[in-house]
Symmetry: C2
Subunit: 734 residues, 2 copies
């Protein structure tokens, strides 16, 4: 169960050695002087370099400067999954912030162990936080789903844990938020990510595509950001002074000395080859550097920066600016400090794949499963005497590494559903594939229960989007035919998003469990859930769309709102109202009621709201009068279960069209026992209540607001804001 | 170097045992009486069966009838590549009919060795002969290209050799022409082959899509045919009485007792699940059986035929008709005869992967390479002293199994270009990948020659078509940048079709060699060609289209002719006039001249042409007055080389629009020495001169005809046909 995927396409197998500040020549340089500031130390190193040496150092595979004792370094590391080996989409389904934080701690601990073994550096190109805009996206599984509020909570917890705490003095590792910006298409109908120009309105940009990066840069203070392959409104992301300088470094003040930007791999080359933005390669690399990109993952910088410099296409000071960011980042990670002075440098293989971290892998899988249908067949129970015969069908009943999804490292072990079932007592297992005459065999065997476990036929992956979100029809046909036997039939839907409506409408299908990519212990989590060892409480982090949705809107249409001209029916639960399964939906093995604890005030004057004055503090960092809404949740059934309290806001405020609703807070309550109640605290910020105008300004509007608990709604609380609309954040115009 | 790919998806690992006619119970049945006709023997077996037994026998995984001593049998076997392990697209590029025949003999010999070892049956689901209509098709590599004349020559040679000669008394193996019909799309922009309805005009059907099957059924007398997944003009191919009964068994008289039809795998299920052609599964299986499909590759027949029979949806006689075909086929393959009585039953592992058959694998690869550009850099020569330094770049320079393409079996050995180069003396090899700073390294190493070997980035495969035919732009960019060094740079284009125009227009690129999927010895063939051990003489079996072509015509547009309404610019060299590389193009290491040996008569009265009278014999089976056109070819250069004499017809005859030209004959001349001449005999049938009207009738038109030798044209001969237009073949209307 290794932590990281070291992507091998471009990242050569450089050994990572720490620099030796105890010996010459490096010890002669003030970079080793721990009494200086990080910036001063980095500057001293740069001051000692020749221009030729500097020109070689903005490449992911840095050759270092042997003359100075600066070793080679590969800026490229991957750490999406970590120990849990469950892609973010399943982590998000758990709606459990503390668990995300715990997983981030394990990932960074294991990353340090790898670094100490000279297997990796100290910065990692994770997390992938582009919101999952379209169900066809090949990399959606890497992300925490479609909702920006969820994505921002994930960032706050994951990045902070990866980096060793909020604004750490020394970075545990440097996280990299990617891909900046409006990147969420791989290859669709001839449109390639390398040359795609995303046309995005200022409103959609501020309200949706930029929200995760605002969280990363402004609020969570991530160390590093990756610019994307695509252009945005005609300008390549890795040579885009508006998004990089005006928004990121200007408006969000992402200007710590160490804050550096890397390109996605080959993205600088793509500016020339695919975007055709400059007439030659020298102008291309100079434009990327001048616009503030500090690392080229690719070979363009080392190859063409020297001649670009000779041609006067950039100043040495601009190169120095990049190098200062890069080496300050390494200084602030303790790279130049002695091992003895840093606790993280003592981490080793005994800190990798510990029992505790493996428990987390199982826990996140169990928490992330979502029960979509149940006629009472689940949980399965064993007969009082004799064995239960289970017939397993489907391509993924013995899935192992498939459960990990993309960007996973090799796991110590992988437990498929079949393996987990094999470890149970009093079970007879029969298995067939869907094409092996399933109806004949189901009749011959007369199993007690049929469990069909499969993933969508068309695989999404990096570099490939999907063209359909429907199941390969032969497999549901097989399920439908075996279900006619009257034997209880359970469907476990793994892998990508697709339309399960035929299972919901078929009365012969007893239950449907969504499992996505549940990671190394995914099979154990599924069997534990089917047999009631754990009770499912995950919620859908994505909308499940009907099959025809993909014919209604082009993947290249970046618009969120319904558009009668283009036929775009709207995207995400906020703007689309015909979902097969709603975002946030999830059943339990029990029933819950929810009651909002009365709040005396139901009308607020915007002018009187704390901090609602100019100059406004940043809205999402404020407490507010609605920050402590409490909801009382009661388990009225017979099974102990977690419960995710979801709070959405809806109402009449701001101009039309208005979103159907917006998630503003959630909390996962643990182990609510039968008949017992727990109280959830839902922290609702003013920023979460704001909307965005056509210029991208974040605005608090007067009007009537309604907080809704759960999907479908179990409780509501209404309030109003009065007074004048107030701009919380003026969006910088391009 | 094994012959066959036993597809494992649906074909369970049944052991294949021959029936035992020497013992009871089978010896009691007249199927063992070799004095009876094959049909009588098969009928005797069927007469002994109960209806329940019969209902189980139309499944690819036949359970046999244990009570009668009839063993299990799997009708599914694959044998596309055979020993050569080169997909048909490269075989076709050789334009060498006798070599195709030799390869077919080896495949069937090895197939018999497998059958004798109880590893396979006696029938094989090969060849794939749908014409390669669109460059995006994922399975184009399996086929002999876009031109129906080439496809028909391939069928005549391959199928005849597989079956053991023309109309053999005993089949060596039973070949299966697939996929009937108009099947040439996998999955494109949401259109799946399982549910696709190909809309095809009668003209295109008769002129193009049906031509290969006419050759198989009417002329070459293939034993078996596979019906396809798709519908044709609204009717699923595996329940299509027009194509199966009216055309195939009616018009083409494909009615030998053993001529059976199998469905493609799951294709009968798809009639229900994807085409929605019948309201239930019983009516679906009955429709397939009633329309003349004899084997279901899938589970629908064994599962639903019994209840369909109970419902009276088909007659027992119809089932008997199918079984008679199937068991006559096995009788005619010697299945029920003693091993001692049949020479093929003595073949064993010593007949597999022989030195002679491996020589064929190398030969077909060498003959199939096509030289597209050469400024004199090729062939490479070794320096008189010292070593030649070769810098290899590109993803496929060490390709091994990739060279085999799809449907390949495991090879005894695989020789990549790098391996073959390693076996040479006086060569220094340097290798880098395109993303490893190629320009910097090329400058550092100063190689004598740079060879870039790669395949198109987007892979085509079964179940997936492509969306683009352009190279991933980063790789040509790398080639372009290294070529600026002035070091001779050679491009070897492997894999799928794509647009090489940027290499042709770049004066720094010295040479381009097309290698497709050259099979197990493909790397050896490439190196042998680059260094002049052999001289390239292959010709393009497909049009190379410009990048934008795929944006001009939808893959679902089945039309061949340009259409101003839809924007379809035309398909294949016959109707498209803006190719990057023309069908039939190919350079040599020498120069050739060609001269047509004068024919006295240049005007022919259609009424006086031999056999040009009603009732006409079948046109392609006739000799004609133009059957012996001779062309004298002279090698005017310094290198001994093969030469493919291609004869096209063009002219003014029949209604407009007229095809640009049509291939009517070819012959590969071997080893034409410097200064020497050879004479090619080009057999041109009247059928090859015919055209097709809008109803699909094959018509010989009066008008002026021009025979053109080669691409570009080296010689022409003009003649005219006079008199009235004459229908050679009346196409049956649906």
């Amino acid at each position: 169960m290794l932590l990281t995927t070291f992507a091998v396409l471009l990242a050569s197998a450089l050994a990572h050695e720490y620099p030796d500040c105890s010996s010459e020549p490096l010890s002669n340089n003030s970079v080793c002087d721990t009494s200086l500031s990080a910036r001063e130390r980095a500057q001293a190193l740069i001051d000692a370099m020749t221009i030729q040496e500097k020109l070689n150092l903005t490449h992911n595979n840095s050759p270092g400067v042997p003359r100075l004792g600066l070793p080679t370094y590969n800026w490229w590391g991957e750490a999406l999954h970590g120990v849990a080996a469950a892609p973010a989409i399943v982590m998000a389904a758990a709606f459990d912030d503390p668990l995300i934080y715990s997983i981030g701690e394990v990932i960074s601990t294991e990353a340090r162990a790898f670094s100490n073994a000279n297997k990796s550096g100290l910065d990692y190109w994770t997390p992938n936080i582009n919101p999952f805009r379209d169900p066809r996206w090949g990399r959606g599984q890497e992300t925490p789903g479609e909702d920006t509020y969820v994505v921002k909570r994930y960032i706050e917890n994951m990045v902070t844990a990866l980096q060793g705490g909020p604004e750490p003095e020394t970075y545990k590792i440097i996280a990299t938020c990617k891909h900046y910006t409006a990147y969420d298409m791989e290859f669709w109908q001839g449109n390639t990510r390398y040359g795609y120009d995303a046309k995005v309105s200022a409103q959609d940009m501020a309200e949706y595509y930029m929200q995760p990066f605002q969280q990363c840069a402004r609020d969570t203070k991530v160390g590093s950001i990756m610019c994307a392959y695509n252009s945005v409104n005609g300008v390549p992301s890795c040579a885009n002074s508006y998004t990089i300088e005006s928004v990121l470094r200007g408006h969000w003040n992402w200007t710590a000395d160490e804050n550096y930007i890397t390109s996605d791999c080959t993205a600088i080359q793509n500016i020339y080859t695919d975007h055709h933005a400059f007439p030659d390669r020298q102008q291309t690399v100079a434009a990327a550097l001048n616009s503030g990109v500090d690392i080229d993952c690719g070979y363009y910088n080392p190859t063409f920066l020297p001649s670009a410099y000779e041609q006067g296409l950039f100043e040495e000071a601009t190169l120095d600016r990049s190098l200062l960011r890069l080496y300050t980042a390494l200084v602030k990670s303790g790279y130049f400090n002695s091992a003895e002075s840093q606790p993280w440098r003592s981490l080793g293989w005994s800190n990798v794949s510990t029992p505790e971290s493996e428990d987390l892998a199982l826990q996140i899988a169990e928490e992330g499963l979502v029960l979509l249908k149940n006629d009472g067949t689940l949980p399965l129970s064993l007969p009082s005497e004799g064995n239960l015969t289970v017939l397993l069908i489907g391509g993924w009943f013995n899935a192992t590494s498939e459960m990990q999804g993309i960007y996973a490292g090799p796991a110590r072990t992988l437990v498929s559903p079949w393996m987990a079932l094999n470890n149970m007592s009093n079970i007879n297992i029969e298995t067939i594939q869907w094409y092996e005459s399933p109806l004949i065999k189901a009749n011959e065997l007369q199993p007690d229960v049929i469990v069909w476990i499969d993933a969508t036929h068309e695989g999404a992956e990096e570099t490939a989007d999907r063209n359909t979100i429907k199941w390969d029809l032969m497999q549901p046909d097989a399920v439908e035919s075996v279900a006619t036997t009257g034997i209880p039939t359970v469907v476990v839907h793994m892998g990508e998003q697709c339309d399960d409506s035929m299972f919901f409408s078929n009365a012969n299908v007893s239950a449907v469990l969504w499992a996505g990519y549940p990671g190394m212990f995914g099979g154990q989590a599924i069997i534990n859930t089917l047999f009631g060892e754990v009770a499912p409480a995950g919620r859908m982090p994505i909308t499940q769309y009907p099959t025809n949705y993909v014919n209604e809107v082009a993947m290249t249409d970046m618009g969120l709102r319904p558009d009668s001209e283009t036929g775009n029916p709207g995207r995400t639960y906020k703007w689309y109202d015909n979902a097969t399964v709603e975002f946030g939906f999830g059943l339990h093995y029990t029933n819950f009621t929810a009651e909002i604890i009365a709040v005396e005030t139901t009308s607020f004057d915007i002018a009187q709201l704390p901090h609602a004055r100019r100059p406004l503090p940043l809205p999402s960092r404020r407490s507010s009068s609605t920050s402590s809404l409490e909801v009382n949740v009661t388990n009225t059934g017979n099974t102990t279960s977690d419960y995710v309290a979801l709070a959405f806001v809806a109402g009449e405020y701001g101009p039309e069209p208005r979103p159907r609703k917006s998630l503003v807070a959630y909390q996962r309550l643990k182990g609510v026992e039968s008949g017992a109640s727990q109280t959830g605290a839902l922290n609702i910020t003013l920023g979460a209540l704001a909307r965005y105008d056509v210029s991208g300004n974040e605005i608090l509007y007067p009007g009537s607001y309604r907080i809704q608990i759960d999907v479908p709604v179990l409780a509501t609380w209404e309030f109003e804001l009065t007074g004048a609309e107030t701009v919380l954040d003026h969006w910088p115009q391009s």
